[in-house]
């Protein structure tokens, strides 16, 4: 297990580079809205954001309107950008995402984006595996298109707990060979995305993933074990999305081999899969830079 305590061998990934464009803030209109299984797809008329965004980036919404008690922004992956529009897929969960999912065509919303670092591209033509969990698959659509344009054959695995929690299967189907898995077998194969990965790893050169942390960990570990570089878009709790609050950190191994608490909004959300110390998320390992000043000593 590279990139973790007791690390063996060199890392397979370089840190994802910054995006080309800087973010902007806009009040935009919802152009269209469509329920998709358990989710809601919103298409925003947001040309300034659409033209700047790259696959893997996200936007951050202010929620609740002028009377809102909810101050913090909600980060949502960009599921598509083009023709002046940005698409997102929202899973109603807490108060903010529920409010977002209830937006109607014609409503306006304050959004900042594009934010975060995009998925780095492999050498042209490198066969790629994309793994999406739940609404995470939506974030991979733009990447699949860009990979195809660069000559990469693309295989995509979309997994979810049940059929209604799958997303973007159709969109990915136009760009890639798609395998579907569900925990309950209500669509595709019954099982986890990692079960489906096994057969594909041998014929790709890079792995990309987006979805819940447990899945990202399993995908990254599988890729690393197979000697493949992987890039994962993590989902840490974020307050600002723009890099100023320091709430969204997780332990990531840097280029110098040292682990730092890195902000997933500005240094991520895309990290090298072998650089994220998944097992230590939520903990403070002694070898994180600055842990000594917190009174944590080497064992």
């Amino acid at each position: 297990m590279t990139g973790r305590r007791g690390q063996v061998g060199p890392l397979l990934t370089s840190p994802a580079p910054r995006a080309t464009h800087r973010p902007v803030q806009r009040v935009v209109e919802v152009a269209r809205r469509r329920p998709v299984g358990a989710y809601v797809e919103l298409v925003l008329a947001a040309p300034d954001i659409a033209e700047r965004s790259e696959p893997g980036q996200f936007v951050a919404f202010a929620v609740g309107g002028p009377t809102s008690a909810h101050l913090l922004r909600r980060s949502i992956a960009i599921a598509g950008a083009g023709d002046g529009e940005v698409t997102v897929v929202v899973a109603p969960h807490g108060p903010g995402s529920t409010w977002l999912a209830a937006l109607q065509a014609g409503d306006t919303v304050d959004v900042v984006g594009p934010l975060g670092r995009p998925y780095p591209m492999p050498a042209d033509g490198t066969p790629a595996l994309l793994v999406g969990g739940g609404y995470g698959a939506a974030a991979l659509v733009g990447l699949a298109a860009r990979l195809r344009a660069a000559g990469s054959p693309v295989t995509a695995i979309c997994g979810a707990a049940s059929a209604d929690r799958l997303s973007s299967v159709e969109e990915l189907g136009e760009l890639a060979e798609v395998v579907v898995t569900t925990d309950d077998g209500s669509a595709g194969r019954q099982g986890w995305v990692t079960d489906a990965m096994a057969g594909v790893l041998g014929r790709v050169g890079v792995v990309y993933a987006c979805g819940p942390m447990g899945m990202l960990r399993a995908v990254a570990e599988g890729a690393t074990a197979a000697g493949l570089p992987s890039y994962v878009a993590v989902e840490e709790s974020m307050a600002c999305g723009v890099g100023v609050c320091m709430t969204c950190v997780l332990p990531v191994v840097g280029e110098d081999g040292r682990t730092r608490f890195s902000r997933s909004c500005t240094e991520g959300p895309v990290f090298g899969g072998d650089r994220v110390r998944f097992a230590d998320v939520g903990a403070l390992p002694w070898d994180v830079v600055g842990a000594d000043a917190m009174g944590v000593v080497a064992p």
């Binding site: 008690a69 101050l71 307050a239 903990a283 917190m294």
Partner: protein, 312 residues
Amino acid sequence: MTLVDAAVDMTTALGAAPIPSPVLTASGCSAFGQELDPFIDLTAIGAVVTKSVQLRARSGRPTPRMAETPSGMLNSIGLQGPGIDGLLADDLPWLAERGARAFVSIAGTRVEDFAELAQRLRGVPGVLGLEVNISCPNVESRGEVFACDPVAASDVVAAVRAAADPAQPVYAKLSPDVTDIVSVARAVTEAGADGLSMINTLLGLVIDPDTMKPVLGGVTGGLSGPAIRPVALRCVWQVHQALPEVPILGMGGIRDGLDALQFVLAGASAVSVGTAVFNDPTAVARVHEELAAALAARGFGSLREAVGYAHR
């Protein structure tokens, strides 16, 4: 609007250091300024108040580090930061190069730490002054927070004032979690503080109804945002009432120009915008514009005329 703005003289000062705008960032709520560069003109705001820096680089606390609360949030970042070396090597030169003013927040767990930090910051280009974050546990007093004890607080401020560049004003940042904030304010002022930053966060706690444990790894955290604004205003009011000559950098829940106006009327000669930046990355610049317009609409020719006006 632009014409109206131009009519109000918005200049003010932190101690003896003049600044072109009374609206600043709040420590820990805009990192070291860089990330706001895409959204606002950092040279036009009063100053970038930096995240509190300590002598050594700090990882900060493990996650979860925050919980959203009604009209506010709880945080327990644990002062993650590069340490004074990193600050001097990277962050301050970046700000100085851009022509942005830095008001450097310093923190420590012993009096000598604070003094050493002040010493290291003497004459550093672009450093306008120091904000002393005394809301830290005092390792020499069983972890009691400096800001909660007038004596410990004054010790820190006296040491910083003695070590600091005489051209750099020293502001003491007060905690609202005290029985009598005026006595702390008086003590640190007598110890040499050139001004007071108020308020820091209130100590709070949130329990996760699913895990049935405190949300934050650090159990308690600091409450900030509009929720605490009435408490912050009360503190500014009380201290300005008791010590009208002491400059106050007011903060706590400021979100728009009328919020800032309330602090100015209560006695603040400058304000910091903290948590609201998480909601709106342009907040600091926007609050400046809105405050200027609000002052103009009320017939003030300058910000200075409005400072403490509600007491008259």
